[in-house]
């Protein structure tokens, strides 16, 4: 199992080594030590690898991820898993702002809290935060699911398009055009699937969550109101 010490190898060399791996590589398990808050660790992966990072990482860890599983045994700085396409990113500590921003697919799991703008402009990624999320989370979210076991900060789902938001704790305010919606069986089943995928198999009651989404008043052109535009 390749073991990379970032005290002796540059992030650029680590990433280049990970990018060189073919899809059918046998070197699928990687360990990275001493990240010491460095930026862009394990970005742009495009193979079914598992990269486990021991320590806190800086900006943009696991950005643009495809197919790979990236595990951070620590906290992540701003923009973790930004624009991820598929695979899984699992932060065992807290994540800073804009976690999972613009993500198109895959699963981002944060065991701790995520700060402001979690899931901003998400486009299909699933995000499960076991703690709280900060203000303006799911801002302009377009598709995908954001699940929050703790509280959500102010202006949740501001200017949201079609993403689904599930929050178990207190929501400190909904943003423009974000409303609470009924939690029907299909939503409970979807939430159950997401919680299971995040490793919470059966330990969390889906009935304790409330669902939020778009009122669809903001982004449609209303012909009846053409005179107002």
């Amino acid at each position: 199992m390749p073991d990379v010490d970032l005290a002796r190898t540059t992030v650029r060399d680590l990433n280049a080594a990970l990018h060189r791996l073919p899809n059918d590589t046998n070197e699928t398990e990687w360990r990275v030590r001493n990240p010491r808050g460095q930026h862009s660790v394990a970005v742009g992966l495009d193979a079914p690898l598992t990269v486990e990072i021991d320590g806190h990482v800086g900006y943009y860890c696991a950005g643009m991820n495809q197919h790979a599983t990236v595990v951070v045994n620590g906290n992540a700085g701003p923009g973790v898993a930004e624009n991820m396409m598929s695979g899984k990113v699992w932060v065992k500590g807290d994540a800073s702002q804009a976690a999972g921003a613009t993500g198109c697919g895959g699963l981002l799991v944060i065991d701790g809290n995520a700060s402001a703008r979690c899931g901003i402009s998400m486009k299909g990624v699933d995000i499960v935060v076991k703690g709280a999320v900060g203000h303006l989370s799911a801002f302009m979210a377009q598709a995908g699911n954001l699940v929050v076991l703790g509280d959500a900060g102010e202006a949740l789902g501001d200017s949201i398009y079609e993403a689904r938001l599930f929050v178990r704790g207190t929501v400190h305010g909904l943003g423009a055009d974000c409303v609470e919606k009924a939690m029907e069986d299909q939503h409970k089943a979807e939430l159950r699937r997401l919680l299971d995928a995040a490793g919470l198999d059966g330990s969390v009651d889906v009935g304790a969550f409330r669902r939020y989404g778009s009122a669809r008043q903001l982004y449609h052109f209303h012909i009846d109101k053409a005179g107002s535009y």
Binding site: Y59, G93, S115, H135
Partner: protein, 297 residues
């Protein structure tokens, strides 16, 4: 951009290492702020004495300056030279006379004053500026540093942080304020004076004004949430206090860490990685619009 590093020691046995630790925190922030670097160090106070940190040109005749100051304050003046800065210690009750004497030297500016605070800032990268000032040899209870990427005003020493607007008070800022001109006018009306057109100096002045009005550091920081508009992460030093405040939108990054021995602030975690015991520290992102402060007992 810009980078901030702040360290407040709870364990007094670390006081001799304060400068080394701060220098180690500032160096990784070089790429967030390569234009200028500054820091304030809260060292030992002497009974009845006031420290003035002065800055002058490299060609400054320090002996002549000390002679003039000595005549003004009525006795010899202890001093330490740090590159372009000189820290002089004068009797606190002779401050007015010392300032009067310094007005006769237009190439000398007073960078900071206080019982404990010494303040250094220059154009340059943090490792270079720290080395020129001898930060590694400085000790104390708390220190605040800043690496600047200039956005709102020119790359000059005057535009470098920390900003100080009162004895033993300083502030560093990452961000930009949008209502600083209006707040500056109000503060000037109150009697405060400003050395620059910089937005961050206004934030320092606002805190000074609040403290002079009898408010605590905590109350002063609460009041600035209502009075100051814009983006900011502030780290604030007073003679006995260390405060952190982020604006409600909190765009500017911030990380804090705490152990039994110290509390530290870094714009990024990279600034904190060499602190003793960081592996076991509680590391968290300070919440928006929440006042954090620690005081010496």
């Amino acid at each position: 951009m810009c980078g901030i590093a702040g360290l407040f020691l709870k364990d007094r046995t670390l006081e001799g290492d304060l400068g080394v630790l701060l220098a180690g925190m500032l160096a990784p922030l070089s790429d967030r702020g390569p234009d200028s670097t500054g820091f304030a160090v809260y060292g030992k106070a002497e009974q009845g004495a006031l420290k003035l940190t002065l800055r002058g040109p490299r060609s400054l005749d320090v002996e002549a300056l000390l002679h003039r100051l000595g005549e003004a304050v009525g006795g010899p003046v202890a001093h330490r030279r740090h590159d372009t800065h000189v820290v002089v210690t004068i009797p606190a009750d002779r401050e007015a006379a010392a300032r009067q004497a310094l007005r006769a030297s237009p190439d000398v500016s007073i960078v900071g004053s206080g019982r404990r605070m010494e303040l250094f800032k220059e154009v340059g990268r943090p490792d270079d500026v720290a080395r020129r000032f001898g930060l590694n040899r400085m000790g104390g209870t708390h220190a605040i540093g800043h690496t600047r990427m200039a956005t709102e005003s020119a790359v000059t020493t005057d535009g470098a942080h920390p900003f100080t607007t009162g004895d033993d008070q300083c502030l560093v800022h990452n961000g930009s304020l949008s209502n600083h001109n209006a707040v500056r006018r109000d503060l000037i009306r109150e009697g405060l004076t400003f050395q620059t057109e910089n937005d961050s100096e206004v934030a320092a002045g606002f805190i000074t004004s609040q403290l002079r009005g009898g408010r605590s550091l905590e109350q002063a920081m609460e009041a600035s949430l209502a009075a100051l508009d814009g983006f900011y992460t502030f780290v604030i030093g007073t003679e006995a206090g260390f405060g952190v405040l982020r604006d409600p939108i909190a765009c500017k990054p911030a990380v804090m860490a705490e152990t039994e021995r110290w509390v530290a602030f870094g714009t990024e975690y990279r600034a904190l990685v060499d602190l003793p015991g960081i592996e076991g520290a509680r590391v968290w992102e300070p919440a928006p619009a929440r006042v954090y402060r620690w005081e010496l007992h």
